[in-house]
Amino acid sequence: MNLTLKVWRQKNENTRGKFHTYEAKDISEDMSFLEMLDVVNDEITRKGEDPIYFDHDCREGICGMCSLYINGRPHGPKEQITTCQLHMRSFHDGQTIVIEPWRAAAFPVLKDLAVDRSAFDRIQQAGGYISVNTGGTPDANIIPIPKVKADEAFNSATCIGCGACVAACKNSSAMLFVGAKVAQFAVLPQGQAERKERAQAMVDQMDKEGFGSCTNTGACEAECPVGISLSNIATLNREYLGAKIIKEVEVH
């Protein structure tokens, strides 16, 4: 099939970008979306022009590096997958595809379609962990954790940190991402010691990074490639408000 691509090109963080139009020819429907871009890039490179820069790495939907906003939706038209798992059979011959980077003040564009998501790392650094040193931990089976709790924790922990939630949210809110981490540890017995501190510290950092606030539109949940649910946001609200109003703990 043949396609028309409108791709955001921007040299670096400090320059203004604009859309360029490319033709993608002889695209097989077995290609992944990124392989389609490889083909386009190959052609651009042969012309001696600068290929389109986009982030990608594992290409199996787990590293969270790929991040394209395709025809108005993060990771494109199919639900519960990342861009690298999106295949061209989801498009039709002659279609025009608009490809943009994630748009958020907290995610500045580095080049073309790649954005800087280090804000996510800083939020995790603020408290997204359980403080245990290596060694000296008790036997793994010493605390039984009900299967439902373990599964619930897993469902939150499965977040790949791609940022589609922020990209999808009309407010560029990072609540789903932060909620997932807070919820994972809030459910587990290991996470209790630092529970209140964690919620406060991570929300404070989230706000500092300039993400918007959650207005519960649910766009994040709908676009999340690994199906992180809105209940993580409810948990985050509960954890944070509980920590602030019912029993505040000093964050250190």
Binding site: N71, N171, S173, D204, T215, N216, T217, G218, Y240
Partner: protein, 259 residues
């Protein structure tokens, strides 16, 4: 920054304010609706006018009404503050945006819906609240025969009377009050006001269909059995039933009382 400030300057804290004020306003709507249902009584406005007097003169309710005005203002103000931040969080908009694919229209347009409701509120308050308090509303005298229950109605020019009275005389109960009922029906003679009211109620329905459940989500309410109940109440009662009943009032007035 004080602890208190810290909470309410956080994004979640601000949303908490939206949530609490929103829930309070929703509750007010229920009370308001119950009272206004008297409009559907064919008693010449007796019950409605008595209710109007009660609501404006009973001290605790008066106090709550001031809280209510403040709540409206805070709810609107914080929506502006939150919207400002949210706009700033995305300085460059998407060229191609397909919000319909992942969220409902009303959830993305709460600000627009809220603005319509605000305009409605101003109109509504100036039509009735202002008129009732400071306008030139006529008085009405209801004489009800206690034995038969029959009521006769007599208009009293505003110049003759300035208070509310209710007493029993000669086996009849007599009540003289401001005739807000008449004022209401007078206003709804204009079809465009009726249309505006109905549209505003549609906006209210959309606003609450998202707002009510959203308020609980913001509070962190997430029970696997009761959260769906909240969502159902939000949609069916606050999103549909309440706005429908409110919208029925101007329509009833226009098509039934005034015709």
């Amino acid at each position: 920054m004080s602890r208190f400030n810290q909470l309410f300057s956080s994004t979640i804290g601000k949303k908490l304010i939206m949530s609490l004020t929103g829930i309070f306003l929703s509750l007010f709507l229920v009370v308001h609706l119950v009272g206004n249902l008297q409009l559907f009584k064919s008693d010449g406005g007796l019950a409605f006018n008595e209710y109007a007097y009660f609501m404006t003169h009973f001290a605790p309710i008066k106090a709550i009404s001031y809280l209510l005005y403040a709540t409206f203002i805070v709810h609107a103000l914080y929506s502006l503050i939150i919207t400002y931040r949210n706009r700033k969080a995305r300085p460059i908009a998407y060229a191609s945006y397909n919000g319909a694919a992942n969220s409902t229209w009303n959830s993305r347009n709460m600000g627009l819906l809220g603005t319509i409701i605000l305009i409605f509120l101003v109109t509504h308050m100036s039509n009735f609240w202002y008129q009732y308090h400071w306008g030139d509303v006529p008085y009405v005298e209801y004489t009800t025969n206690i034995q038969t229950g029959e009521t006769s109605v007599r208009d009293i020019p505003a110049a003759e009377f300035h208070d509310f009275v209710k007493y029993i005389e000669d086996g009849s109960e007599i009540m003289i009050a401001k005739d807000l009922y008449k004022e209401v029906n007078f206003s709804f003679q204009s079809w465009y006001l009726v249309v505006f009211y109905v549209l505003a109620m549609v906006a209210l329905g959309f606003h609450l269909a998202h707002g009510f459940k959203s308020a609980f989500q913001t509070l962190g309410f997430d029970h696997n059995r009761y959260a769906p109940l909240i969502r159902a109440i939000g949609f069916w009662i606050f999103g549909i039933l309440i706005p429908l009943l409110f919208a029925a009032m101007p329509l009833y007035s226009f098509f039934v009382v005034n015709s």
